[in-house]
């Protein structure tokens, strides 16, 4: 039972190797077998340790805890693992085709799963670095998988910017090792109160956070995300936007838990960063014309909303609202990307303006896409509504924080009103091949959106171990807010976005150069140093 965390990492990785070595027609089914094994192991593990994650520490080779490599789990990591296994199921089902020779793709996909599950469980800072960097490498290959010029360009942009960020993360680890003499996260967090005021501790926090900011595409350094997620294959984009970006946010949660006893007040700073991410992401999304670019920029803005929640201390409702929004976003953004992929495949066109009549051509896909759009805009009884309402509940007292969220909601409503045009109009194309497996995975995701939107209380209690009963979500005020945002969004679309004024065109044409985004990264590092260390 104690070895399950190790199996969870190595079963997908070894399966990936076997698939790659025996490039056989039937070996593809092994991917599904490994997925079943991982799911069963995870359920067993959850049942064994439910409610008592204190003794899940596993140290390799019986070394002392201070030097050995160790794995540990808690409620958050186990629920993240459930989410990731679910996402991989969906992507595997979506891309699975009988007898199709896609061994290389399956190799990287399964390898990435092992690495991601490792990142979630690790209790060792250096291993965290290794997993982050491995993730960067594999994701680069998956981005460039289409072998077009666009994909290679996005891949090299991604790998260099992220490596610079992860190296800053490594520097932070070095400082921590120099102070504590260990890289074990549990040991460091136990001893943090002894040195909480030291400059070196604060500086290491700054370095770790700047690395995480690049990995999770926070405000000044998000320019890689739309580039990468816009050009990758739709299934890959769904995985990247839904889950892999959340790896950075997960590390953010872990690091803030580790620095809980240090004398750092990060709430305001990261709230501002999250708000800026959300607003700027929405602004760019509004100006785009390409379906996948719109969805990619919305990932940026939703990460900002998550950040608004996660920036709060760990026992508040707003933190759990952010955490829940990670899960909700994973469901609806994967759904939207998969649906958009199916539409793009049939129409052969990515532009919102050129695609019409999807409702008649592909009724099923448009139904699930509408569920996804209702979720992302925060419609009542869909999952986006719940987490946004919990975040709203947490910031009800301060006016400006509340209004920022409202503005972001209007922007989201506007750009999905714009995107929903693709459903209307006469049928222009007839679909020849029906793909049942794709529909299955999209239906599961849509079902997840609806389920989490209505039965979130038992789900959060079972997996996060946190009571959300006292947060009143389904109030008339929240319903009213949604319809107000929707109608304001419609007006905004009708009179500002649709005429395509010059500022909108300017934002669409704006591209951050590579050296520019690195420059911004360095400035972000300096600003964080000034905020956390100097003042």
């Amino acid at each position: 039972m104690f070895l399950i965390p190790v199996y969870l990492i190595f079963v997908p990785v070894l399966t990936a190797l076997v698939i790659y070595v025996f490039k056989n027609k039937h070996i593809n089914y092994l991917a599904l077998v490994s997925q079943v094994i991982v799911t069963v192991l995870l359920v067993l593990y959850h049942n064994e340790f439910q409610g008592s994650y204190a003794d899940t520490l596993f140290v390799f080779g019986n070394w002392s805890e201070r030097v050995g490599i160790s794995l540990v789990n808690d409620e958050i990591s186990v629920s993240f693992m459930f989410l990731s296994v679910f996402s991989w199921w969906m992507v595997l089902i979506y891309t699975f085709e009988k007898g199709k020779p896609n061994h290389n793709f399956l190799f990287f996909l399964l390898f990435l799963q092992g690495v991601f599950l490792g990142l979630l469980q690790t209790n060792d800072l250096f291993n965290m670095f290794v997993f982050l960097e491995l993730m960067t490498i594999i994701v680069t290959i998956l981005i460039a998988f289409k072998k077009t010029g666009d994909a290679f360009r996005a891949g090299i942009y991604y790998v260099l910017l992220n490596t610079a960020g992860v190296l800053a993360f490594l520097m932070g680890i070095i400082f921590l090792y120099n102070i504590f003499g260990t890289i074990n996260i549990l040991v460091i967090s136990e001893n943090m109160h002894l040195v909480g005021d030291e400059t070196a501790v604060k500086f290491s926090y700054v370095l770790l956070m700047s690395g995480i900011a690049v990995k999770s595409a926070l405000f000044p350094v998000f320019s890689w995300l739309p580039r990468a997620h816009g050009v990758a294959q739709s299934a890959i984009s769904a995985l990247l936007s839904g889950l892999i970006v959340k790896g950075g946010l997960y590390v953010f949660i872990r690091m803030n838990m580790m620095f809980a006893d240090a004398n750092l007040n990060y709430t305001d700073f990261f709230y501002v960063v999250g708000a800026l991410t959300a607003v700027v992401g929405v602004m760019f999304a509004l100006s785009q014309k390409d379906m996948k670019q719109i969805l990619a920029y919305h990932t940026v803005s939703q990460i900002g909303i998550v950040m608004m929640g996660l920036s709060s201390p760990h026992d508040t409702e707003i933190f759990y609202g952010g955490l829940l929004h990670i899960f909700n976003h994973a469901l609806f953004k994967s759904l939207l990307f998969l649906g958009a992929g199916a539409i793009i495949k049939v129409y052969g066109n990515k532009k919102v303006a050129d695609v019409r009549g999807v409702m008649r051509t592909m009724p099923f896909v448009s139904a699930v896409m509408i569920i996804g759009m209702l979720s992302i805009t925060g419609a009542p009884f869909f999952n986006g509504f719940i987490s946004k309402a919990i975040i709203k509940y947490g910031i009800m007292d301060s006016g400006i924080k509340y209004w920022i969220l409202f503005v972001v909601n209007i922007g989201t409503a506007t750009s999905f009103i714009k995107m929903s045009q693709i459903f209307f109009g006469p049928q222009t194309i007839t679909v020849r091949i029906k793909k049942r497996m794709q529909n299955v995975s999209m239906m599961m995701l849509a079902l997840g959106c609806v389920l989490l939107g209505n039965f979130y209380i038992p789900i959060t209690e079972g997996y996060f171990g946190f009571e959300l009963r006292e947060v009143s979500v389904t109030t008339w005020k929240n319903f009213f807010d949604y319809f107000l945002a929707l109608s304001l969004g419609f007006l905004f679309y009708r009179y500002v976005i649709a005429p395509d004024y010059k500022p909108v065109r300017y934002i669409r044409g704006y591209q951050m150069s590579f050296e520019g985004s690195n420059y911004v990264f360095v400035i972000f590092l300096v600003v964080m140093t000034l905020y956390f260390v100097v003042f």
Partner: protein, 112 residues
């Protein structure tokens, strides 16, 4: 070597990343940052006059901290992988766009 010197190396790398307009130079800059980080960690783990941390005849007196050395070997391996991958992508970008200038390749629409 003074640990401060390694900071200079790291800063040179960041300077290169935020100014160079050529993909190859950007790859080099990342490599330079990485070398700086590795040197920094080895410096902090090294003791003046300390012996090699391998159990055997030389294992007497003060011994250098073995953990940084073990970790940095991993970092070097990962770094070489990233460099190889980046250079491969660089070649592919050159085949598609005919140039390795960032400005040129980012300005163009779809590659050939």
């Amino acid at each position: 070597m003074d640990p401060l010197l390694t900071f200079v190396v790291i800063l040179i790398g960041f300077y290169g990343l935020s100014t160079s307009k050529n993909i190859i130079k950007s790859v080099f800059s990342v490599t330079i940052i990485e070398s700086g980080v590795i040197l920094l960690f080895l410096n902090l783990g090294n003791l003046e006059g300390g012996s090699v941390p391998i159990v055997g005849e030389a294992f007497t007196g003060i011994v250098s901290d073995p953990l940084p050395q073990a970790l940095m070997i991993t970092t070097i391996v990962i770094g070489s992988t990233v460099t190889a991958l980046a250079l491969m992508l660089c070649i592919k970008v050159f085949h598609h766009y005919g140039t390795v200038e960032w400005r040129e390749i980012l300005r163009r629409g779809e590659g050939k």
